[in-house]
C-alpha cells in the first residue's frame, strides 16, 4: 500500500489496527494526538483533586473522588494505546513533566470556588465529550474502541456536574453568584477549547481521519447543546455578541487565539504549579513502581 492509497483508504472510512502498515507521518500524528489526550485526562484531575477535601458534603467528596478515578483510568487506557504505537508510558510521563508534550487549555486554569468544580464537571466535560464522540469514528480502531467506554463515563460526569450546578442554582443568592462568577471565568477557555476555526481541509488530523469533525463544527455543536441549558437557569453567558443567526449558526466574539496558544505551550496561570505537583508525586511513588516490578520479576 502506498501512502496515497492509505490516505484514500482512511478517507473512505477504512480503519487501521496496530499491526497494519501505516505511513510514518500517520503514526507520528496519532501518537501526538492520543498522547495529548492521555496527558489531559491525567492533568484534568488536578483542578478537581484540589476540591475533594473542601467539597460540601460526603456524597460530593465521594462523587468527586470517583470522577478522579475515572479520569486517571482513562489516562491509563489511552497511554496503553500510545504504548502499542511505540511510545512507552514512562516516556509520555517524562515528556509531560518536562513540558515537551501538551495538555488541554482548560486544565491550565485555577479552580477558585466550588462553582468552578460544577462548571468544569458540567461544561468542560460537555465540550470534551463532543470531541470524544467524534473520535468514535477515528481511523485508528484501537483508539476508537476505548472511546466507547470513555464517552460512557464522561456522560456520567456531566450528570454529576449538572446536579452540582442545579443544587446551587436552587440554593441561596450567594450560591447562584458563585456559579455565575465561575461561568464568567470559564467561558473564554471553553470557547477556545475546540481550537481555532482551521478548515478541515487544512487540518492534518482531519485529513488522516484521526478526527472526524472540524474544530468549528465541534464548537457549534457545543453551543447548540449547552447555551440553551445555561440560559434556562437564568445564567448570563458573558458574551454580548452570542446568538444564533438566521441560518441557525452561532455567532460569538472571536475567542482569544493568542491566549490559547500561550496557555497550551506551558504558560497558563496554573501550568507550572500543576506540573510541579506531577513531578513531585511521580518522584514520591518511584519506590512503589520499583518494588512492584522487582517483585514481579
Amino acid at each position: 500500500m502506498t501512502e496515497q492509497e492509505f490516505l484514500e483508504y482512511v478517507q473512505s472510512g477504512g480503519q487501521v489496527e496496530t499491526d497494519d502498515w501505516m505511513p510514518d507521518d500517520y503514526r507520528a500524528k496519532l501518537v501526538k494526538f492520543i498522547e495529548m489526550h492521555g496527558n489531559s485526562e491525567l492533568m484534568g484531575v488536578l483542578p478537581e483533586r484540589e476540591w475533594i477535601l473542601r467539597a460540601p458534603t460526603l456524597q460530593r467528596k465521594l462523587a468527586l473522588t470517583a470522577k478522579v478515578q475515572d479520569e486517571v483510568g482513562h489516562a491509563q487506557l489511552i497511554y496503553r494505546v500510545v504504548e502499542d504505537l511505540g511510545k512507552p508510558r514512562e516516556q509520555c510521563l517524562e515528556d509531560l513533566i518536562s513540558g515537551k508534550s501538551k495538555f488541554h487549555n482548560v486544565f491550565h486554569y485555577p479552580t477558585e470556588t466550588w462553582g468552578d468544580v460544577g462548571v468544569i464537571a458540567w461544561l468542560v466535560d460537555a465540550a470534551a465529550i463532543i470531541s470524544q464522540k467524534a473520535l468514535l469514528k477515528c481511523s485508528y480502531a484501537p483508539y476508537a474502541r476505548i472511546m466507547k467506554k470513555i464517552c460512557w463515563e464522561e456522560s456520567f460526569h456531566i450528570l454529576h456536574g449538572r446536579d452540582v450546578i442545579l443544587t446551587m442554582m436552587n440554593g441561596a443568592d450567594e450560591q447562584r453568584e458563585l456559579v455565575q462568577e465561575a461561568l464568567n471565568r470559564w467561558w473564554a477557555p471553553l470557547m477556545q477549547f475546540h481550537g481555532n476555526p482551521i478548515s478541515p481541509a487544512d487540518d492534518p488530523m482531519f485529513q488522516w481521519r484521526i478526527k472526524s469533525q472540524g474544530n468549528e463544527e465541534a464548537r457549534q455543536q457545543f453551543l447548540d447543546g449547552y447555551v440553551p441549558q445555561i440560559w434556562e437557569l437564568g445564567l448570563i453567558v458573558p458574551d454580548p455578541k452570542l446568538g444564533k443567526n438566521d441560518e441557525g449558526v452561532w455567532e460569538y466574539t472571536e475567542p482569544d487565539w493568542a491566549e490559547l496558544k500561550h496557555v497550551v505551550t506551558g504558560h497558563g496561570p496554573q501550568t507550572a504549579e500543576r506540573l510541579e505537583l506531577r513531578k513531585t508525586t511521580r518522584a514520591e511513588t518511584e519506590w512503589v513502581r520499583r518494588t512492584v516490578l522487582a517483585e514481579a520479576a
Binding site: 491509563q76 508510558r89 476505548i146 512492584v292 516490578l293 517483585e295 514481579a296
Partner: protein, 96 residues
Amino acid sequence: MIVYEVFRQERKGQAFAHAGSVGAPDAAFAEAYAREQYGRRGESVALWVVPREAVAEIHEFVDELQKNYHRVDGYPLKEKLKEARERAGTAPPADR
C-alpha cells in the same frame, strides 16, 4: 510490564467481547486493573484476562482447494430453480 488483553461478558449467556488491554507487572496486578477498568460499574458479569502473548492472531484465510461446498456461493440455486420450474411448467409469467 506485561500487556494483558481483557475480554468482558456483559450479561450471562452472552459472548465475551474484547474490551481493551491493561499493562501490569504480573497476573495479580492485571486482575486488579481489569476489575477496576472493566467491572466496577456493573458493566460486566465476567472477565477473561489473558497475556497478549497467549493470543494467536490469524489473518490469512487461503482457500487453495476452492472448497466452495463450505460456503453459500457453492450452491447456485437460482439458475437451477428457474430451469426446474420451466420443466415443470410452474414458472411465473415473464412480464410481471
